[in-house]
Symmetry: C2
Subunit: 340 residues, 2 copies
Amino acid sequence: MSQLPKQSAERSVPTSADVARLAGVSRATVSYVLNNTAAVRISEPTRRRVRQAAEELGYVPHAAARSLRAGHTRMVLLPTAHAPVGPLYHRFLRELQWALRRLDYTVVQYGSLGLDGDEAARAWAELRPVAVVSLGEVALTAHGVDVLKRSGAKAVITLGPERVEGAHSLVMDQREIGGRAIAHLIGRGYRDIGFLLPEEPGLGLFSRPRLEGATEAALRAGARIEPLPMAYDEESAAALAARWRGLGLDAVYAYNDEHAMLLMRALQDEGVEVPRETAVIGADNLLLGKLLRPRLSTVQIDLVAGRSLAELVDRVVRDPGGEPERHDLMRARVVHRESS
Amino acid sequence: MSQLPKQSAERSVPTSADVARLAGVSRATVSYVLNNTAAVRISEPTRRRVRQAAEELGYVPHAAARSLRAGHTRMVLLPTAHAPVGPLYHRFLRELQWALRRLDYTVVQYGSLGLDGDEAARAWAELRPVAVVSLGEVALTAHGVDVLKRSGAKAVITLGPERVEGAHSLVMDQREIGGRAIAHLIGRGYRDIGFLLPEEPGLGLFSRPRLEGATEAALRAGARIEPLPMAYDEESAAALAARWRGLGLDAVYAYNDEHAMLLMRALQDEGVEVPRETAVIGADNLLLGKLLRPRLSTVQIDLVAGRSLAELVDRVVRDPGGEPERHDLMRARVVHRESS
DNA sequence: TTGAAAGCGCTACCAG
DNA sequence: CTGGTAGCGCTTTCAA
């Protein structure tokens, strides 16, 4: 007030006090009007003046101030994936966000690239989210969960291959995927089975449990599982294909459809016939599998609907004491086509 | 204090005052110690006591309170994509986040699914981000930009096909992609060229400018461009392929490699030979293009490094008055293989 | 029907 | 070297 603004751009952001001043009312009244507070009656002319003033100033409430006052937020924090994720996962995430928004939560994805589990948990806790839904990208520890809970998070939900102590863990058992694929191959008479293990580090969380499941299934049937590390590029695939015949395998589970496509092409270029010499099965049931020749057998993965997870989040937020619920998060079944 | 806590879980979240009490110092001292404030000297024993107390209570600072006090945040808000995005985009986003974090920003992705441009801008403004980097998923208007700026955002940067008034727009000219593809086909002697237009709504922002660019290139050379709407599924592709010969086309640009693969398969199933009867070119230079037979020609798109965009964000935040800089955000070049 | 004022958690100024 | 304290923007009692 005492001196003229240096810049037009320097004008400070309007607060509810500014709105009150312009409308000629108190800040309390502004709050009542803009929040449609039911417990109090404000005359229509006053309401109009307030809204008008807010509009004129371009007033936008300050979320931090509001939640500071309220003592809690409606923020649900979703740690962002590091690894490239497929369309399945993408759709699930979109559904989840949409459903949470409908339940009046503010959904925020927080990239925690380069932070370890406990650092990440601390960073998240600073934002005081009311819920955290961790989809397995960050290895949340019992300690991390505790930090979040102590910072006021009502719900800490993890989806992943393993339980996390203290969290409301929904175990997404990736072992089933590997198990189904191998059982299918065994059922069709294959006995020496390769397991394509992607070398990308971010995928370990998914591929290792699948390998476990595969190994168990093979063990039960007396079949052999051979882990085959391979990077997602042509050279690596070609190198693997070149030594293929020496491996003595009659089938391979290729982690997912994209890896399967890569390997299948390399095998074909090497003159290995699919499925006569070697059967191939992928996972994820991507469209591309149907376009390949031979058409690619695959493991179809059905994720829980984002909507029902959103409802679970809401339930846990409202009653944090409730018993952890068991959920079937994932269902896997084989789609048999021509490659196996 | 007056009554015993109802639940062990009900214990409230520790504040810096709690830490101060436990350490036997003032809140100011706690703040100095935990923030390593250089301007003030605190004795080593005191520091230790404070840190010890903070540790013991599991104290985590309250970001909202801090930024309220500070009058600004270090939050960079990235609106989340609605449409399924390719690996290119994913990598770019990851790089950008990583680089911003290194510059000490808190990066947050905010899904604005189902909000229009102005609603979204308001929702973002409530969080008082210091910068917003909109990658074209939400149609930000001049008004939306104004709302953000008035709420204190120093940098509003849009990457997209079109300039946005008031924002620091980096025009990512998707027309070049369509243009290059068509120029390539024309250079190889094709004159009647289809333009595969994906029907997914989220892709319109990308496909329309590409069509424009394609049309311009065709016009210059006296070639014909035929827009061909197609959904990303087998039925739609088969339907298009079934009427292919009636269209009188000798080449087609298929939006991206995945659509190209889908269409190429449908054409082959219909007995249309590629490239003899119809040449095909995609875009994005995905690995799968190299695996197809014939190998797929494509438009390789080089996005600006996430790192340099992060540096731009930082520069604009520090000097919001600076002149908008021109940037080459994207470079496109044709990779010729066998399908064209 | 409206206004005054307290206080959420934090930091930075100014005293001691 | 440390503590008291004002105040960021907001909501919500309580009083007028």
